[in-house]
Symmetry: C2
Subunit: 307 residues, 2 copies
């Protein structure tokens, strides 16, 4: 592939990179951009806001690096590889929005766009810890918990692009903390970075973020260590359910919270093996991403280059 | 397709049918045959016992109806469409056994063999309630609980042929009743016909079978009605997890216990929709099989005819 642009869209930031055919980063940039706003009354206003925000954030970097393709990892559900946004939890007005096509008209380059966690899965499989595996489940462990699935080297998106809602698998069967989706017991409400900070605050009375909880745990704080151990247990429970359905051997995990690997991975593996059917026990590999926060950008570059 | 034989292998019986290209049953037979015996010491003894049992049960029917192909639904995991048995919970000595090839040498006809629940899924998609759906999750609700998955008209078997262990999804998070697989909380330990009889006995003190529990419920017995309502709830919980991962729209259910449809289906749908992410609520169809106990035989006939 030639050089392409890649974009990874988070809650408040948009990351950009110029990437070559071997996955090397030639240049990078980070732009503040908040995609969801709740004062839009009409679909047209919401469409224009998203298109304006994205093109304003991307154009200066594109002017510096004039290429013909951009790949974008976007927090939403897409219909196959059409670039049509089926829906997005944070953009309720934009069901069935031709985001790829409309943004292409604005930017005047080709646009490939796909779910952000699926981009991370593609990046991990092509360039990272998932290399050489035709089948891969990739989990992103950040502010939220996402999942992307590759089967026989092909991205699996489901009938409406809503497959691999891994963060909403149910791991707690009591009505305690409510998830952003409105349900109780979702993995994301117990094992995301946000949830780790919340659970630590509930236990210790200390308000802080997940990174600090990790540092407390490394310094011997028992509450912090317990919260991260439980995070591994919740992840192991959810991965077991996915493996029992999909019979998939290789699972990779990226995202900020995965930096606590040595605290999360051992309880995760113990819980996973406890919950599998006997012939699968000991046969599943759960591997830390080697790409860290670059998996999504590399996956976005890959979908751009394949067009 | 020409006429083919189909076999569906249960715990104590082997059902046989001669089926034409339109899925019509020309002749049927049921033979007593117990596949698992626990006095075999060596793999060779176990192999010969299985081959002897199957060929003795099948040969008389084959002599009556000399055809060139048989399809078999077998309670075990198979490697893709190779006919190689990866493993079977009831036949621990037979890992990686070339069942299809060896049985073909015995019977002197072509043999296609696949997991029994997957055969039922294939039958339901080709000839039953799943017709016209490229993607289908089929659940068999009998002595055990099985699952078969079709994606883009292709059977999904997983990396080791162990995909869709639907009956072993965890629906109860307390260590109460142990499943046959050794774990606690599996769907099969709460929602199979066996489990319905057990749970009714625990509640009412009356030892009976699932069919009788259903009849009690129809006659107004509140314990029986509650057990079947809870069965629907457990199924709804497990289906929600599968839908959140696979984003699949159509689910069909067959098997003896599905005869209690009007008691199981309403609580199942309520629990399913409660547990889905909001954009999927109300969009999933769970349909009663139209083939009843013929789904597995029709699927077996289909895999035989495709060779």
């Amino acid at each position: 592939m030639d050089r392409v642009l890649a974009a990874d869209i988070g809650g408040t930031n948009l990351r950009l990179a110029l990437i070559d055919e071997n996955g090397n980063f030639i240049d990078e940039s980070r732009v503040e951009a908040r995609l969801s706003r709740h004062d839009q009354q009409t679909r047209e206003a919401a469409e224009n806001y998203v298109l304006d925000t994205l093109s304003e954030a991307i154009t200066p970097f594109l002017d510096q690096h004039p290429v013909s393709d951009i790949g974008i990892g976007f927090p939403g559900f897409f219909r196959g590889t059409t670039g049509i946004l089926a829906g997005s939890p944070n953009l309720p007005l934009l069901e069935d929005f031709e985001l790829g096509k409309r943004l292409s008209e604005r930017l005047k380059i080709r646009v490939a766009v796909q779910n952000d966690a699926l981009c991370a899965a593609i990046g991990e499989q092509r360039f990272g810890a998932g290399r050489g595996h035709e089948n891969l489940l990739h989990i992103t462990l950040g502010t939220g918990v996402g999942g992307g699935l590759i089967l026989n080297n092909v991205s699996y998106t489901g009938e409406r692009g809503m497959a691999m809602e891994f963060g909403h698998l149910r791991v707690v069967h009591k009505q305690t903390h409510r998830c952003g989706c409105g349900n109780y017991g979702c993995l994301e409400a117990y094992a995301s970075a946000t949830a780790v900070a919340r659970r630590f605050a509930e236990r210790s009375g200390i308000d802080t973020d997940a990174r600090q909880v990790y540092e407390y745990a490394c310094d011997g704080n028992k509450d912090a260590a317990l919260i991260l151990k439980e995070t591994g247990i919740y992840l192991g429970l959810a991965i077991a359910e996915a493996v029992k359905l999909l019979d998939i051997e290789t699972i990779t995990i990226s995202g900020g919270l995965s930096h606590a690997w040595h605290l999360i991975h051992p309880p995760l593996m113990a819980e996973l093996n406890d919950n599998l059917i006997p012939p699968l026990r000991g046969k599943i590999n759960v591997i830390h991403s080697t790409l860290d926060d670059k998996a999504g950008l590399l996956g976005a570059a890959h979908i751009a280059s394949r067009r």
